[in-house]
Structure formats: structure tokens, C-alpha cells
């Protein structure tokens, strides 16, 4: 006697299903019950699960594969900007911006903020006058206004905003920042440089400008955007309380359509506000839910190469202010990192360490080496983000120490970022960027991430093409390739964006491949990514996204 096979809620058949399961790479049909895969193989394999209630989807011979897992995103910002903020091009000049501000102010209730982005940082001297501030005040209709620039480092705000932040002309400049003052009159202009910008952002956050409902809506919008590209699992790489609250809030309502891991910053990041470190870790159980896993932390170890804030072994090119031999600096010493990693291990937390320069990578590996030497093996996987400039001697250490390479953002090909690096580091060094093939050969666990919204949209197909071709999929920088010897094959790239990212997030038993017992997260594509020309990968469109067997995105279904 055999048990009667369980009836499937959903059967998808007649597909070319790439499973990312080494034991069975291809299947044509899949059966789902209660969100989990109960059968996969050919039609005969799923047939016993076909019952009266089973919904059947004909894939029409199209390719399907596991949902994409993005190991590095900043989830809520994109949605907030789309839903609640004024968006304008950095090519707009002052008066055009002021016109948009006035229109936005008219629609904004009294007492509420108008927030917008992004003005070109080349406008600073235009905006930094008493007259410009008066014009902004006039356009604001009494609402507090904050406008971000295109570097995200500076703001332009009106008098009402400064008043709310307690800033007047008697205030001294904050550490590592300054208040813009009219060069002629000395009056404040509302331009907020670097740390001064934080004072305004903090005022907005503490004013309760973003309600929990708004946060949830922004998060839902972000997740919907990700679903439209086939992403069904993400790691938020700077999860402050509002991010985790929004994820949990959506999940409690049955509205979270992706698996979400959260990396809580060990110290307050420069671009987000609120509690961090131990105080934040202590809240994590209150945010845990079926699809939300706050089991990661984030350390920012250095900055970015283009701004000469990443830490390198060799000096940057000479600079009038920094001199001949500046190498950048790390924001923590090895012992400080050891303390954090050790503490996180005690708490069962994996650490994601932002390392943009090769010296930061070395330092992070050194610290993890110390922790491994004292603590022995661990089930936790720590991540080095962004694993892009790596000293040759460090390549093999990733695998030796069990450290994952978080490959993000999608700039594995010539970009304006790379052009900036060439200026600060010289062409030869700048183009030794992303030694992915060497990492692979050394047995490194490599995972794919977007770093959205650092890059404007989280389309992983663009990234995947770049990993294969090392050329810019948009057609920019035509004929150029970035270190083409480091190109990877498409099968490896798909693993990087599915099972590997799942493994790095500690979710490889649940997601990342299509196998019996795993979550039925799969996507249907408009072409077979394994067969098309490599310069066509970025053109792949996701037609349907299923999360736990539920259709959560359908192309052309209307937004």
C-alpha cells in the first residue's frame, strides 16, 4: 500500500525548467503544495499530484528557473523616493527646481516636509546665496523643504527646515561638515555640506515624517520592483529599525513577497539614522517572522575609490589636498573588527563587511582569521562586500577562511565609476577590478548583489550579462571590456545569483534551487538564458514571478 500522493495547489508544465540542482539540471514540470515544491521532473512526475483543485499553468516551452537572490540591497530607499519624494534630473537648473518645489508644496499638507532629489552638485555655488534661499523659501509655501544632491552627501534646505533642526547663524559648523553661508553677506543659505546634511535628515526621521504605513508602502513598492525582475529573496545591507519593522509589518499582513534577510549596522551609517550595534541587535527577535531573518550585521570598513575614501595598499594618484601618498583609511582597526566579529558570532550573527579597497579586504580577512583561530569552525558565513579590488595574495584566503565574496554592485564592466577610479588610481590599477575568475578558481563562495539604489535599478540581468561579457550592456563604452580574462560562464553566473546567494544568506535549504521540499520561488523568462548570445542576457524579460507558488508579478498585467 502506498499513500495517496498529496494534491498540488499548482502544477506548471511544458516548460524548460533550469533547476540549479546538480542532480537534475533540467525538468519540464513542477508541482507545488502550500508554497513548497512537492514534485519536479517530467509530466509523469507531477501527474499523481494533479487533483480537482489543482491550478495548471502551461509554460509554453519557456524557460523557468529559481527566483533570483540579491545578496546586497538597501530596500526602502528606492520605494520611498518613488512614492513620496519629488524626483528631478541633476541637469535641472535652480529656477526649474524651484518650480517643481512650488508644485509639490501646493500638494503637501501644512507642516509636512517636501523632500526631493537630486540636484547636480555643480549647482552648489548658485544655491549657496542668501538670494537663492529667499527664492526657495518663497517656493516652499511655508513647508519645510529638503533637497538632496546627486552625491547624496549634501542638501539644500529652506529656512523652515533649518528652524526645525535648530540651526541658526550662531551655530558652529558640525564636525566633518559645514553650513553654507553667502560669501558676500555671511548669511546662512540652507546648503548643508556632509555632516550638516545629517542634522536635517535626522530631524526628518525623528519628526516621524515617515509613518509606519508609509514605510510599509515604500517597502512593498521596493519588493514589487524586485519581483518584476525575478528577485524573490534579498538581503538588506543596512537594516535599521524602520526597515525591519516594514518587512515584518508586511509579512504579518501576508504581503511580503520575498524572503528578506537583514544586516543590522554595528554603528550608525552616515546615510541612515537611529539605533545601531548592540542596541539594535537586541531588538532583532521582535522583527523575526516567517520570511524575515535579522541574522546579519553590517560593518562599514572603508569608503569608495572614486572619492579616495577606500583603503588601499598602494597610494592614490597625487592630490592637491591629500598629497602624494594617501592610501585611504579604514574605519576600524583589526582588533576592533575582531571584537565585532567575535561578538556577532556569540550572538549567532553573520557579518557583512564593506571593503571597497584591497587594504580593507586584507584587514577584514585578517580579523576573520584571528576569530577563526580562536573560535574554530563556525556555521556562520561572513561576507566581504564588495570584493572588487583584492590583493593577489588574498584571493585564496576567502575559501580558506570560509568567507563569502558579495559581488555588488552591478559594475563588472566599464562604467563612470571605473572612469572615476582611473582618475584616482591610474588606469593600470583601476582596471584590476573584480578578479571574479580567480576567486572562482580558488573555490570562493561568490554571491550576487545589486547594491540598489547605488545603481539606479536592481535589474540582475544587466549584472549577469556583465559578469559574462565584462562589457557594458547599455552600449556605453562600446568596444571596451573590463579585465576580460575575469569573465565567467552563464551557468556559474546563475549559481551566483541563486543557490550561492541563498547559501550566503543561510537559506540554501529553503531557496536558491528547485528541489522537492524547497520554496516554490520560480520565474518564467521570455527566452532561454542558457542558449542566447551573451550580449542578449541583459535583454531577458521576466514574464512571471512565483513566490511560494503564488504569482506575484506578471508582465503586461498592468501596474
Amino acid at each position: 500500500m502506498t499513500e495517496k500522493p498529496a494534491t498540488a495547489d499548482l502544477i506548471a508544465k511544458n516548460g524548460r525548467i533550469y533547476t540549479v540542482d546538480g542532480n537534475r539540471s533540467w525538468a519540464s514540470a513542477i508541482a507545488v503544495r502550500s508554497g513548497r515544491i512537492i514534485a519536479i521532473g517530467d509530466e509523469a512526475a507531477v501527474a499523481p499530484h494533479h487533483g480537482a483543485e489543482t491550478k495548471v499553468v502551461d509554460l509554453g516551452g519557456r524557460m523557468a528557473m529559481p527566483g533570483i537572490v540579491d545578496v546586497h540591497t538597501h530596500l526602502m530607499m528606492g520605494g520611498q523616493a518613488e512614492l513620496f519624494e519629488l524626483r528631478f534630473s541633476n541637469l535641472l537648473r535652480r529656477d526649474a527646481i524651484l518650480k517643481l518645489v512650488r508644485e509639490a508644496a501646493e500638494k503637501t499638507p501644512e507642516g509636512k516636509w517636501v523632500i526631493g532629489a537630486q540636484w547636480g552638485s555643480d549647482l552648489i555655488s548658485t544655491l549657496n546665496t542668501e538670494e537663492s534661499l529667499k527664492a526657495l523659501d518663497a517656493a516652499s509655501l511655508g513647508r519645510p523643504v529638503m533637497l538632496r544632491d546627486d552625491t547624496y552627501h549634501n542638501r539644500w534646505v529652506n529656512t523652515a527646515a533649518m528652524k526645525l533642526a535648530g540651526i541658526d547663524k550662531a551655530n558652529k559648523d558640525p564636525d566633518q561638515g559645514s553650513f553654507g553661508r553667502d560669501p558676500k553677506t555671511g548669511a546662512l543659505t540652507g546648503v548643508m555640506i556632509e555632516a550638516a546634511a545629517g542634522l536635517i535628515e535626522r530631524t526628518i526621521v525623528t519628526s516621524g515624517h515617515y509613518s509606519e504605513e508609509m514605510d510599509r508602502a515604500a517597502m512593498a513598492r521596493s519588493i514589487a520592483t524586485l519581483n518584476s525582475y525575478g528577485v524573490t529573496a534579498v538581503l538588506d545591507a543596512a537594516a535599521m529599525q524602520p526597515v525591519m519593522a516594514a518587512l515584518k509589518g508586511l509579512d504579518d499582513r501576508g504581503q511580503l513577497t520575498a524572503w528578506a534577510a537583514a544586516a543590522m549596522p554595528v554603528t550608525e551609517p552616515s546615510f541612515m539614522f537611529g539605533i545601531a550595534g548592540e542596541e539594535l541587535f537586541a531588538t532583532r527577535e521582535s522583527y523575526r517572522s516567517k520570511h524575515v531573518k535579522p541574522d546579519f550585521t553590517k560593518v562599514f570598513l572603508d569608503g569608495v575609490p572614486g572619492a579616495r575614501t577606500a583603503a588601499f595598499h598602494e597610494p592614490y594618484t597625487p592630490d592637491p589636498i591629500l598629497g602624494c601618498c594617501f592610501r585611504g583609511t579604514t574605519l576600524a582597526t583589526v582588533p576592533e573588527l575582531v571584537r565585532w566579529v567575535g561578538r556577532c558570532e556569540e550572538l549567532g550573527l553573520s557579518v557583512k563587511i564593506h571593503c571597497a579597497g584591497d587594504a580593507a579586504v586584507t584587514q577584514a580577512l585578517d580579523a576573520i582569521d584571528v576569530v577563526r583561530s580562536f573560535n574554530g569552525p563556525t556555521a556562520l558565513t561572513h561576507h566581504i562586500a564588495h570584493a572588487s579590488y583584492i590583493a593577489p595574495g588574498d584571493i585564496k584566503r576567502f575559501a580558506e577562511l570560509g568567507v563569502a565574496a558579495d559581488l555588488s554592485p552591478f559594475i563588472w564592466y566599464p562604467t563612470s565609476f571605473l572612469e572615476g577610479h582611473k582618475q584616482t588610481m591610474g588606469v593600470e590599477r583601476a582596471t584590476r577590478f573584480w578578479p571574479n575568475k580567480e576567486l572562482l578558481a580558488a573555490g570562493t563562495l561568490m554571491a550576487g548583489g545589486s547594491d540598489w539604489p547605488v545603481i539606479p535599478n536592481p535589474d540582475p540581468w544587466n549584472g549577469m550579462e556583465g559578469l559574462v561579457t565584462r562589457q557594458n550592456p547599455s552600449g556605453d563604452f562600446a568596444g571596451e571590456a573590463l579585465w576580460p580574462e575575469q569573465a565567467l560562464d552563464i551557468a556559474t553566473v546563475i549559481e551566483i545569483f541563486t543557490i550561492n546567494s541563498a547559501r550566503v544568506m543561510g537559506w540554501d535549504k529553503t531557496i536558491g534551487s528547485l528541489e522537492i521540499g524547497k520554496s516554490a520561488d520560480f520565474i518564467v523568462l521570455d527566452r532561454n538564458v542558457m542558449e542566447i548570445a551573451s550580449d542578449e542576457i541583459a535583454d531577458v524579460n521576466v514574464l512571471e514571478t512565483y513566490f511560494e507558488g503564488r504569482l506575484v508579478f506578471e508582465r503586461g498585467a498592468g501596474a
Binding site: P335, V338, R339, G342, E346, V370, V371, S373, F374, N375, G376
Partner: protein, 377 residues
């Protein structure tokens, strides 16, 4: 007040082990004049007969100038308050502090507070931890209460109380057990709480001048305890004890490295036969206390420095707390090798050995386990 820091002695011991009796006797001795005693409560044993004055504030002034008080919300506030009052002339000058913990307390957080708190650390210096263990109930208490075992493991002085009414053999077995749990501590038998204050004070070895004899002593003690444990291992009444011996690994030279299966608490020692670079060693020690502090019950070392071979450095750590290292004027005996003793919970000896070699820049071939006590003596 001058820069001289006020010595603090922590008196701990399991419930009913005789702490308060000891405290009561100590406070009558002239050596403790000017002592601030901080206790849980004016308990059943009572200090009433010593009290000359009580107040609503849970303060009591003793006739020898001692101040007693119970701990308020927290120790930090209490200490700061009393120092302030003493400086203001409202209370007598505080020459010494004696803190009696609750019977179930872990004394380490108290030490930690005194060393780490930015307001307190300049004012106070840890003098040591004294633990009372009851000769009648000590063995069963140690067998069943993790807290009691930890109190002993971190102590500098172990006072075996009620030995006068305990079975002699039982007391001997207790002593052996204590020797294994706290090989670096001094053990003393006391009856009716009678103990000479001088034997308890200055226990911690935080004054370099008092260290020489102490350091040599505890290292020999550690080796001897291990020897005894070997000789008497069959004696152990805990079934796990014999079991642990079966699992003693690989090497016949573990004599001095007595490992106990009791809650994973074990002690072991190292001899290092090459000069030590202080900077590298200090870095290793920082990592050790950072990553393994919770399980590092005690660590004491006498370090032969490469840049100052005539004057050994004394290092001393309790959990994540490293006491300020002190340099001795001279070696306490003819042996000039670096010697380190550990009392740990679940830190494999190999981990210490391996990390010493990697991070303290010590040649692996120079790190050995001490041979027999004869060689150490």
C-alpha cells in the same frame, strides 16, 4: 585624596558557606580600620553588636571607623556616593573596600565594573577575590552548582570554613578538588571565621613588590595540583571524573595539564623557552580576552621580555579583564622562562598553543607543557 587607589577585596562564597562570619571577624581587626564594607544585607549572622550607629540610609558606622552599607541600586552609584561623602568629610576616610557578594553571585562583573568604569577605575584597585567554601557541604555544592564552581575558579584565596566540624577525609577530598579548580589560589582552613586579615589582604598580586613570591608559588601550585590530581584521580567520587581520564589524549606529558570534566573547567600551563615580544604578546592577550573572555576564568603569567630580560612582566586576566601588567624588579627564582597558567571552561589547550604561536610571534617549538613539579621548583 591623593592618587593612591583604594584597594578593593571581593568576598564571595556560596549560600551558607560562612562569608558573613568571616566578614564579621575581619572587621574587628585593626588592619581593616577605615574599611568600607559593602554587603548584601545586614543578614542573619548580623553585625549588630558592632554597630554604633545606624541610619535610614542603610549605612552603619562601626566603632573602628568602618562603614557598612548595603548595595543600593547598583554598586557604581554606591561607591561614587560614598567616596563623595568621605571626601566631603561626612564619612570617615575610606582606606579599603570589602565587598561581600550574594551567595549566588558571579564576582567577575564586580571586578569588571571597577576596572572599566571611567569614574571608578582611577579611584579603586582590585586587591583580590576571596571565596569561602564550607568543608561540610562544599563538595556537593560544587558538584551541583555552577555558580559555586565559578566563584572558586576565579578566586585568589580560598577559605575552607567549618573544617573543625567536618570529617577530616572529606576535607582532604575537598582540598584536592579545590586545588584542581583553582590551582593558582591560596587555600586556608578557618574555624569560626577566624582569619588573620593580613592573609587576605594584598592577595591579588597587583602590587609589583608583593608579587615575586606569589608568582612562583602559584605556578608550583598549578603543577603540584596537576600531579596530585593524577595520583588521586581514582579517588574522585564523580563518575564523570574517571571517564574524563579515559579520554585523556594523545600524550603522556599532560601531567601538569589536569583537565577536569566538571562543567568543562580545566587548568593547564605552558612554559615558553624563548624571549617574548611584548607588543605581539599583548595583542594575542587582547584577542584571547576579547574572543574567549567568557570562558577564561583565570590566566596568570610571568613573561620573559625580549627587551627587558632581567625584569619579568606579570600578566593577570580574569575573563575579559586584563589587569594592568606589572614589571617585577627581578625574577623570583632561577627559572627565567616564561610561564603561563590557565583556568578555563571549554577552551582547548591546543587553541591557546596555536594562537600563541600565530599571534604572539612565538616559535611553536618553544612552547611546551611544564614537566613535573620537581623541575619547576
Amino acid at each position: 585624596m591623593t592618587a593612591a587607589r583604594i584597594p578593593v577585596t571581593v568576598l564571595t562564597g556560596f549560600l551558607g558557606s560562612g562569608k558573613t562570619t568571616v566578614l564579621n571577624r575581619l572587621l574587628r581587626q585593626p588592619a581593616l580600620d577605615g574599611t568600607l564594607a559593602i554587603i548584601n544585607e545586614f543578614g542573619a549572622v548580623g553585625l549588630d553588636h558592632l554597630l554604633v550607629e545606624t541610619s535610614q540610609e542603610r549605612f552603619a558606622l562601626l566603632d573602628n571607623g568602618c562603614i557598612c552599607c548595603t548595595v543600593r541600586d547598583d554598586l557604581v552609584a554606591t561607591l561614587k556616593d560614598i567616596v563623595a561623602r568621605s571626601n566631603a568629610g561626612e564619612l570617615p576616610e575610606v582606606k579599603r573596600v570589602l565587598i561581600e557578594t550574594t551567595g549566588l553571585a558571579d564576582p567577575v562583573p564586580i571586578l569588571h565594573t571597577l576596572i572599566v568604569d571611567p569614574d571608578l577605575s582611577p579611584l579603586f584597585a582590585i586587591d583580590g577575590v576571596t571565596v569561602t567554601v564550607d568543608a561540610v557541604n562544599g563538595l556537593p555544592t560544587l558538584a551541583s552548582h555552577q555558580e559555586a564552581m565559578k566563584q572558586v575558579a576565579v578566586a585568589d584565596r580560598v577559605l575552607i570554613t567549618k573544617a573543625d566540624i567536618a570529617d577530616e577525609k572529606e576535607t582532604l577530598r575537598l582540598e584536592r578538588r579545590l586545588a584542581r579548580l583553582a590551582p593558582t589560589a591560596d587555600r586556608m582552613l578557618v574555624a569560626h571565621g577566624d582569619i588573620d586579615a593580613e592573609k587576605i589582604l594584598g592577595a591579588g598580586g597587583f602590587h609589583p613588590e608583593g608579587l615575586s613570591a606569589d608568582v612562583a608559588l602559584w605556578f608550583r601550585e598549578a603543577a603540584r595540583a596537576a600531579d596530585q590530581a593524577d595520583a588521586h584521580g581514582h579517588d574522585c567520587d564523580d563518575p564523570q571524573c574517571g571517564h574524563a581520564h579515559h579520554h585523556h589524549h594523545h600524550d603522556h606529558a599532560h601531567d601538569a595539564a589536569q583537565e577536569s570534566a566538571h562543567a568543562g573547567i580545566q587548568s593547564y600551563a605552558f612554559v615558553i623557552d624563548e624571549p617574548v615580544e611584548w607588543a605581539a604578546f599583548a595583542q594575542w592577550l587582547e584577542y584571547l580576552t576579547m574572543l574567549k573572555g567568557a570562558d577564561l576564568l583565570r590566566m596568570k603569567g610571568l613573561i620573559h621580555l625580549s627587551d627587558d630580560p632581567a625584569r619579568p612582566m606579570v600578566v593577570h586576566a580574569v575573563q575579559s579583564i586584563v589587569h594592568p601588567p606589572a614589571r617585577l624588579a627581578a625574577w623570583p627564582d632561577d627559572d627565567r622562562r616564561t610561564r603561563i597558567v590557565f583556568i578555563v571552561r571549554d577552551i582547548p589547550r591546543e587553541t591557546v598553543e596555536r594562537t600563541l604561536a600565530r599571534f604572539a610571534s612565538i616559535g611553536a617549538g618553544s612552547i611546551s607543557r611544564p614537566a613535573r613539579q620537581e623541575e619547576l621548583a
